[in-house]
Symmetry: C2
Subunit: 450 residues, 2 copies
C-alpha cells in the first residue's frame, strides 16, 4: 500500500507532455492555422483556422499526437459550400503532409498525418452560441473556450483522471465504449476541483445525479449521470455514458481511495485464451457457446460498433423469445466480426407449451381450438389459468439451427446486413477455436473472467 | 349430430331415480328421523332429526344412495353438549345398521351404512338464520329450505346439469376437485330457469361474474364466479370453484350447444399408460420427469389433497427458484402418494449467475465483494446493469439431488410431513414405471394427453 500523493506524482510524471513535446505541437498547430488563413485569404474564402480539443487546452496525455483543427466558416453560408470549400482547404494542407484520408461524421472532414501528428481538419460553422449550432461539431469551439478559461492550473488533475479512466477502461465517448469524454473529464475537474475530489464525489454518486455548473439546465434528462453542458442548457454532456461504465468508475474510485495503487492507471492486457483453456472452461461451466462470424464491414468503429451492438441485442432477444437463456454475450471485431453468446443450453425439449386466448373470448377461442384440432401436437388443447393451452413440437429445439435460419430476420444495421447476406458462419462450442486471432482470444479471456 | 332434446331426454331417463328408489329412500329417511326424535324424547334431549341435501330436494342422481340427516339442537346449548349428545344419538341409530365410522369435518359426525344407503348423521345447531351459524354445517338446513321451496318442477334440470358437470369433471366442491357444489348447481338452475339456459349463460360469463338472486350481497368477492348465498348475504356459494373448472364448464357448455352429444355426460375413463408409451413420450417430448413418492397418510381426501397441492406448489416454487423450469405437474394418491413434475431439463450448467447489491450501496457492496474475493467462483466480481454480479458454482445442477436434499424444507402439511419424514423416494424418468397401479397409469395418461 503506497501513499496516494507518491503514486499520483509518479503517474503524472509519466503522462505529462514535456516542454519539447508541447513546443512541437504548438508550432505545428500554428503553422497549420496560418496555412488555413492564408489559403482562405488567397482564394477569397471567409475561413479561418482554430485549434480545439485537448491539444488546445493543454490536457493531452504525452505521446497522444492528436491535433484537432477546425476550419471555421460564417454561419450564413450553405452547408454544401462549407463542405466543398472546407474540404478543399483541408485537402490542400493535408497533401503537404505524409498521408490523407477523407472521413465522415455528421459531415465529411480530412484526417491526415503531418510531421508524425494525427491531424483532423474539420470544417465547421462559426455560430453565435452553442444552442444555435448547425452541425454537432460546431459546439466544439464553445467547449474549447469554456474550458480554456477555467482549466489553468488544473491540467495535471485532468491528465490523472483521464489516465485513471483509461486504466479501468471507461475513457472515451465513442460508440464502441460509451465511456467518459475528454470534455466531461474536464468539467468534472472544474466542478469538483481536483482528481481526488472527483473520485471522492463519485463514491457517493447516485444513479441520475445531475451536475449543472452554470445552473441553467432546462430539460429533465433520464441518463445515469447528467452534466448539463455549460455552453448549452439543453444538453447532457454525459448522455453517451453507459450506466455500467459510470458504475465501474464509482466502484474503482472507492476502491482506489481505500487502497491507492498505481495499477489502476494501467489497463490490464489479458492473456489470450488457449485451446485447452476453452475446453476446460466449457466443461467446468457446463454451458453452450454459439458464435456468429462474418466479414467486418470496412467502416470506422463509430459506425461498425452500434451495428454490432444492435445485432447482439436483437439476436439475444430472438434466442430468449425461443426459450434459450442467454448467460453472457459480447462482440468483437477486426477483419472479421464475431457476436458470441453463452447459453444455459443450446438444446431444448421438443415439446413447447403454446398459450392461446382466454376462455370466453368466443371467436379467438374457436379459431385457436380449430387450428389445433388437426395440427401436429403433443397434447390436446387444455385450459390453464383461464387460458387455452396446447403442447406442440418446438420449431427450433436447437439454438444453432435457430440462429442459422433466422438471424437475417434480426435487426441488422445497414453495413452488417450487406456483409451477413453475403456470408456468415455459426459456430458452436470448440468450433470457435478455429478463430486464432490473438485479439479475439484476449476478448474470449475477458468474456469468461469478466 | 343429434337433436338436443332427444339427447337430454335419453340422459334424463338414465339418471332420474325411479319411483321405487324414491320410495325406498323416503321410507328409510322417515324411519331414521323418527328414531332420532324418539331417542331424543326418551332421553330428555331437546333434539330432532331433519333430512337435508339432494335426497331431501329430489335432486339426487339414481344409484347415489346418500342420505344426509341432521340432528338439530337448540342454538343455546354448548358445543361440547351437542357433540356428545349428538354423537350418542347418531351412534345408537347407526349401530342398528350395517357399519359405522366416526368422521370429522368442523365437528365430528357419524357415517353409517344402513339398508344399503350411505347415511351421514350430523349434529347441528338450529340457529335463527344462516348468518348466525355456529358451525359450517348449520347453514345446510337453510339451503335446504331455500331450494326446496323453489326447485319443484326443475329437478330434472338439476339432474342434467349435475350429470353434465360430472361428465366433464367439474362437479363436486371437495378440496380435491374445487368444482361446482350441488347447492350451486341448484341455484344456477333456479336463477337461469333450465339446464340449457344455464349453459347458454355460461358461454357469456366473464371472470368475476356475480349472481345475486336475492339482491342482498354485502361483500366484494374476488372469486372467478360469485353466487351470493340467498340465505347469507356475506357468503359466495362458488368460493371453492377454481378458475379452471369454471373455464372448463364455460368451454364445454359452448361446444355442447354448438354440437350436442351424449358423450359430454359420461366421464371418459382413460386407458392406463403402458411402459412403452412412457418410453415413447419421454423420447418424443425431450423433457425430464421427477416424481416424489411416499406413503399416503390415512386421511380423508378433504384433508389429504390440500396437503398434496400445497406440497406440489411449494416444491414447484423450489424447483423454479433453483432455475429448473416446470412444464407440468400433478398429484395422485391411493395407498401411495405421488407428486410428479415434468421439467424442461433435470440438468443445469454448473455455472450460475449470482446478483449482488447495486453499485453505490457502500456497506453492501463491500460485503459482497469481500465475500466473493476468496470464495470458489467462476468469474471475477463484475458490474452489469448497475449491480454487482459474480458467477459461482451452482449448488444443485441436478434436479433430483435438489429434491432429495431440500424437499423436507418445503411447505409440508401436517400428515404429509410425518409420512415423508419417515421415508420418501425420488424417481426420475423411466424409474416411474416401477409404480404399476392402474389408477396411477391412468393419471399418467391424462398428465400427458391433458
Amino acid at each position: 500500500m503506497s501513499d496516494l500523493n507518491t503514486i499520483l506524482a509518479s503517474i503524472i510524471t509519466s503522462i505529462r507532455p514535456s516542454d519539447t513535446e508541447r513546443h512541437r505541437l504548438k508550432t505545428l498547430a500554428w503553422r497549420l492555422i496560418e496555412r488555413i488563413n492564408s489559403i482562405g485569404k488567397a482564394e477569397g474564402l471567409n475561413a479561418n483556422g482554430i485549434l480545439v480539443g485537448s491539444s488546445a487546452r493543454g490536457t493531452w496525455i504525452t505521446g497522444e499526437h492528436d491535433l484537432d483543427i477546425f476550419i471555421m466558416f460564417p454561419p450564413d453560408v450553405e452547408r454544401q459550400y462549407l463542405e466543398e470549400k472546407g474540404l478543399y482547404i483541408a485537402r490542400k494542407i493535408a497533401l503537404e503532409g505524409d498521408s490523407l484520408e477523407e472521413r465522415y461524421a455528421e459531415h465529411p472532414y480530412i484526417h491526415a498525418v503531418i510531421d508524425g501528428f494525427e491531424v483532423d481538419l474539420v470544417p465547421a460553422f462559426s455560430v453565435e452560441n452553442a444552442a444555435s449550432i448547425k452541425s454537432a461539431v460546431d459546439r466544439t469551439p464553445f467547449h474549447n473556450k469554456y474550458v480554456e478559461s477555467r482549466i489553468r492550473g488544473l491540467e495535471d488533475e485532468v491528465l490523472l483522471l483521464k489516465q485513471f479512466q483509461k486504466g479501468i477502461g471507461v475513457y472515451g465517448s465513442e460508440l464502441k465504449t460509451h465511456g467518459f469524454s475528454g470534455y466531461l473529464v474536464e468539467l468534472l475537474v472544474i466542478y469538483y476541483g481536483s482528481f481526488e475530489k472527483v473520485l471522492k464525489a463519485a463514491c457517493d454518486w447516485k444513479f441520475g445525479i445531475s451536475i449543472d455548473i452554470e445552473k441553467h439546465g432546462i430539460i429533465n434528462h433520464k441518463d445515469p449521470l447528467i452534466m448539463i453542458d455549460p455552453t448549452d442548457p439543453a444538453r447532457n454532456v454525459a448522455a453517451a455514458l453507459s450506466l455500467d461504465n459510470m458504475c465501474i468508475f464509482m466502484d474503482r474510485a472507492c476502491d482506489f481511495l481505500k487502497v491507492p495503487d498505481g495499477s489502476y492507471f494501467h489497463p490490464g492486457v489479458g492473456q489470450p485464451l488457449g485451446d485447452k483453456d476453452l475446453e476446460y472452461l466449457i466443461s467446468t461451466r457446463g454451458t453452450s457457446l454459439i458464435a456468429v462470424e462474418f466479414e467486418a464491414p470496412d467502416e470506422v468503429e463509430d459506425v461498425l460498433f452500434p451495428q454490432l451492438y444492435k445485432l447482439e441485442d436483437s439476436c439475444h432477444e430472438m434466442l430468449e423469445r425461443n426459450d434459450f437463456r442467454v448467460y453472457n454475450s459480447g462482440v468483437w471485431a477486426k477483419e472479421r466480426a464475431i457476436v458470441l453468446y453463452e447459453l444455459e443450453s443450446a438444446k431444448l425439449p421438443n415439446v413447447k407449451k403454446h398459450t392461446g386466448p382466454n376462455v370466453g373470448t368466443k371467436e379467438h377461442a374457436s379459431a385457436f381450438k380449430s387450428k389445433y384440432e388437426h395440427a401436429n401436437k403433443l397434447s390436446n388443447v387444455y385450459i390453464c389459468n383461464g387460458k387455452y393451452m396446447v403442447e406442440i413440437p418446438r420449431k427450433y429445439p436447437c439454438a444453432r439451427k435457430l440462429v442459422e435460419s433466422e438471424i437475417l430476420k434480426c435487426g441488422l444495421g445497414k453495413h452488417i446486413g450487406v456483409s451477413m447476406k453475403k456470408k456468415f458462419n455459426v459456430m458452436e462450442n470448440l468450433e470457435i477455436l478455429s478463430v486464432r486471432d490473438e485479439g479475439f482470444r484476449i476478448f474470449l479471456r475477458r468474456f469468461f473472467d469478466k
